[in-house]
């Protein structure tokens, strides 16, 4: 019984300090201002629900990180990777099979798109 309680306390403490705890906070503070809390965007801002039709394309994984709003977000690569895994799960309906890591995100965000709309057309055209 004692070891069970100790395990419970440990898992509670561990969950409260992990980066996961910041995902929704980071989303509201860094994305929702333009994409809205619902993710539906506006007349001038793309809807995040459109990620569902891109996610299976071959170039989508890099595209999601290299769009300027993501690449320039004032977040560490650890927090950005956790946030993007959360965003993908929320707006495509399922968690990414291969989760973004901080290392991968820090490499991809070094080369943000100058023309994200042209880059999107390339991803849509790929298979």
């Amino acid at each position: 019984m004692k070891s069970l309680i100790a395990a419970l306390v440990f898992s509670l403490a561990a969950s409260s300090v992990s980066a996961d705890a910041f995902e929704e906070h980071d989303f509201i503070l860094n994305c929702a201002g333009c994409h809205q809390v619902s993710g539906s965007g506006s007349a001038t801002v793309p809807s995040l629900h459109n990620m569902a039709e891109l996610v299976s394309k071959s170039g989508a994984r890099a595209y999601f990180i290299r769009v300027p709003g993501v690449a320039h977000a004032p977040l560490s690569s650890e927090r950005l990777a956790a946030l993007m895994n959360w965003v993908l799960r929320r707006f495509t309906g399922k968690a990414p099979t291969l989760r973004y890591t901080a290392k991968e995100v820090s490499e991809l965000r070094k080369s943000p798109f100058l023309d994200p709309f042209a880059a999107r057309a390339v991803v849509v055209g790929s298979d």
């Binding site: 910041f22 509201i28 503070l29 929702a32 201002g33 333009c34 004032p74």
Partner: protein, 178 residues
């Protein structure tokens, strides 16, 4: 022991002679009404007024003042002075869906809250209660944390009228720029 008995008997007999059996109800009533009336006294009201110039006294503070805690990063005219409130646009204007978001600390509970400064758009500039605090604002090249740009860009009409300050939820931490 008999002295204590005697004293207690004396007190009991004396009170039985002087007090009616229901006098405690009258006293309890006086205490209840009296304590409810204390805040109505001019002294108590004067004390409240003296505490409010910072705009944050009382459980909700005073949203019509620039010093109100939710306005920590605002740059614009307070909708409270323009026919709306700190959470609602004045009649005839539209709340922009695109907005500047930051965190402010509520001095009452010491917690940071995520605040959304939704602009009200579509009528001419309000011009009353200019409030320009800008805590945590970044230069224009960090456009998502800059409040000099016109956040009415997402509304039907881009004319800026005034700003609201909506609480989105409790923040996990103050925004990193602070």
């Amino acid at each position: 022991m008999s002295r204590l008995d005697g004293w207690f008997e004396g007190v009991t007999r004396e009170s039985a002679r002087r007090l009616s059996r229901r006098s405690w109800i009258a006293r309890l009533g006086a205490v209840l009404v009296g304590s409810a009336a204390v805040p109505l006294l001019p002294v108590a009201r004067a004390a409240e007024r003296a505490a409010s110039p910072d705009g944050i006294a009382g459980p909700e503070g005073d949203p019509s003042r620039c010093e109100y805690w939710r306005h920590c990063a605002i740059d614009g005219f307070l909708c409270t002075c323009c026919g709306g409130s700190h959470t609602a646009c004045p009649p005839g204007t539209e709340m922009s869906p695109v907005t500047w978001i930051g965190t402010c600390r509520n001095p009452k509970d010491g917690k940071d809250y995520i605040i959304s400064y939704n602009d009200c758009c579509g009528k001419t500039i309000c011009g009353r209660c200019l409030c320009n605090r800008n805590e945590g604002e970044r230069p224009l090249y960090h456009w998502y944390r800059n409040n000099d740009i016109n956040w009415c860009g997402g509304a039907k009409l881009q004319t800026y009228s005034c700003s609201t300050a909506l609480v989105v939820k409790v923040a996990k931490e103050p925004q990193p720029e602070k």
